[in-house]
Subunit: 197 residues, 2 copies
Amino acid sequence: MTKIFQPFSTMYEFDSGALNPQGKLISRRLSDMSSMYQDSEAVQALLNDNPLIYEVYNVEVPENEEHIQHCTTILYPGKVGSEFFMTKGHYHEIINRAEIYFCLKGKGLLIMQTKEGEFSSLEMEPGTIAYVPPYWAHRTVNTGDETFVFFAAYPGDAGHDYGLIETEGFVKAVMEQAEKYALVANPSYRKENEIGE
Amino acid sequence: MTKIFQPFSTMYEFDSGALNPQGKLISRRLSDMSSMYQDSEAVQALLNDNPLIYEVYNVEVPENEEHIQHCTTILYPGKVGSEFFMTKGHYHEIINRAEIYFCLKGKGLLIMQTKEGEFSSLEMEPGTIAYVPPYWAHRTVNTGDETFVFFAAYPGDAGHDYGLIETEGFVKAVMEQAEKYALVANPSYRKENEIGE
């Protein structure tokens, strides 16, 4: 046998979501994905500042079926118009490869779709372990107002295919709306008392 | 395409280390691994109580190369004689498959070895992401006095091979020793003052 791969460890920093050593660090600013947001005027207005949308700390291991790729993603809070900051999203290059997301901080939405147009989403909060099955493209969205951080693991040979998402986008966009609930009067509360008086 | 696997999520409970839903739960008591400890008299003395050594909460996904197996392990604190509670340990059935451990609670030691007798260990504490490369058998040991909990992910097709570890054991055992440090007098502290008096 040729010299085999040796054990090692990486430290996850709970406060920041970063890894130490940092491995291969990918930083995505708005200019790296400006065409992916719905509101092009809002994009233009923000491009001067060119905000940092997310960072991925990748532990570097060989890209083959023996290994497990793993990384942490720090997705910052913010919006482009009323659309929340999000990752680019991708299929795996070997499309029938799954992925696991373990949310460690903040909150967000994981949106997924197949090439046949099937769409699905999962809410994530600390402790949520989300499973992206084989064949599903995946994108994460920060729906909160703090940093959204998750750990990801996927087969070493999976690879990334951004092409179709760059041209077609996802079936749905995640937009801020008015409060999802409203406080309305309960018509029966204290009614009896009123009648009794 | 036949009906494809649908996305889903599982909740990790930070206090206990358990999963919800629990998936396939494996519980190992001393009687399940009594021959693996060094001190057979200590084993006999404990077998009446037959303590729970560890539990594994397994999320159930298909066992093939498309998927990622994932689970949490709760390894309880305790000793058999002076040997710390530990997992059985195993090679993967497909031996060149890696595994990732993400420590979430407590502290422990991950010991590893190859069939050629090479041995390695990594200390784990919350935030440690340990990488078990292809070809390495792996066992975890609770070296602390609280519950040691970690999340694991490994290729869907890896499988488990306990046989060789059951017959041969690991190269090294993890035993409690006297404190790793001792408080000894500093010969120069306040010496000048004494001289000065």
